[in-house]
Symmetry: C2
Subunit: 171 residues, 2 copies
DNA sequence: GTTTATGCAAACGATTTGCAGTGGT
DNA sequence: ACCACTGCAAATCGTTTGCATAAAC
């Protein structure tokens, strides 16, 4: 689902973001630019804290508050989306170069498997129509065991990432 | 989706819970009993804090910590399930007397619409099978506008409950 | 120049934990 | 008696906010 973004795409995103900011009287600061570029280059999923550390590691000192204030803008501008909260943390992922998808999370090893959302979107459309509801977005996550952990047997929990909240159980 | 539980069912749940506790050397205390009964009688969805206040209101003084320590036991014993976190809070609901269902949440007024999960379960089964994944549970929430708020038009947000995290967007 | 951003540190709110005392079994 | 449980208050942890300074526009 993820593919490395080329410079062209990154520049485009930067322009879009600048435009997004300008339209609402916000400023395209050095920090915002730095964040955007770092994120687009690193790609993939990330948490705010993770981003902060990764930047520190590269010798880039952006304040934690700035990150927390910028991420929502990037989401709102359509560059990122907040994917899901495994427990209480936020989880962001880049939208560019991706196709709508949802996630399966292995409860044993934490592996995340992305899968195409088109069928869910279809179902979502039908369900909401029946209820007179106008869908804007959804969240669909499946918890369970990935094929590897399944094979390893119930006795070998790789690390035991636990969300400790039961979702809709198996039938 | 919810129906008032009769005394018979409540007693049954109490027995189950007592059994669940005994099997792992835990104790069936007065507080745990109180919590279980209060929850089953009040039925519906609730948040921990809400439960605390509701008990205080009835003159029942259980410590907040006790609630937070008991709820996971009730979830694990199969009596409750943690439905979803609208933002950062926990949300619990009684499993007994209910059918598997998921939720639509109105972003304008906060209304929660429950809907039958059977189709999602079917789809879930197919998707996980394809990935060699063994599903244990899922979480499916749809955000959008309920029919009422839709009718009221985009200019009349009832209270503006905002999750401020974009999920899988509309296609 | 005016307005929005930044960084820091303090504030938050939900949840958790340490601890001394209480109470099932 | 033993070990789990309770209540309280202090501690966490991710996230938000107030404020003085710095940087866009």
């Amino acid at each position: 689902m993820t593919m490395r973004l080329d410079e062209r795409t990154i520049v485009k995103a930067e322009d879009d973001f600048r435009e997004y900011l300008r339209q609402r009287g916000l400023k395209f600061t050095a920090e915002r630019r730095t964040l955007l570029r770092s994120i687009l280059q690193t790609q993939d999923h990330f948490e705010p804290e993770e981003l902060l550390l990764s930047l520190r590691h590269k010798g880039i000192g952006v304040g934690k508050a700035t990150i927390y204030r910028t991420l929502p803008l990037l989401v709102d501008s359509g560059i990122l989306r907040r994917a899901f909260l495994g427990r209480s943390r936020s989880y962001y992922e880049v939208c560019l170069g991706t196709v709508p998808h949802d996630h399966m999370v292995c409860t044993a090893c934490g592996t995340i498997i992305e899968f195409d959302s088109s069928e869910i979107l279809q179902l979502r459309q039908r369900l909401t129509a029946e209820a007179g509801f106008q869908a804007e977005s959804h969240r669909f996550q499946i918890a369970g065991l990935c094929s590897r952990c399944r094979a390893a047997g119930p006795s070998t929990p790789c690390q035991g990432r636990d969300d400790s909240g039961r979702w809709s159980p198996s039938p």
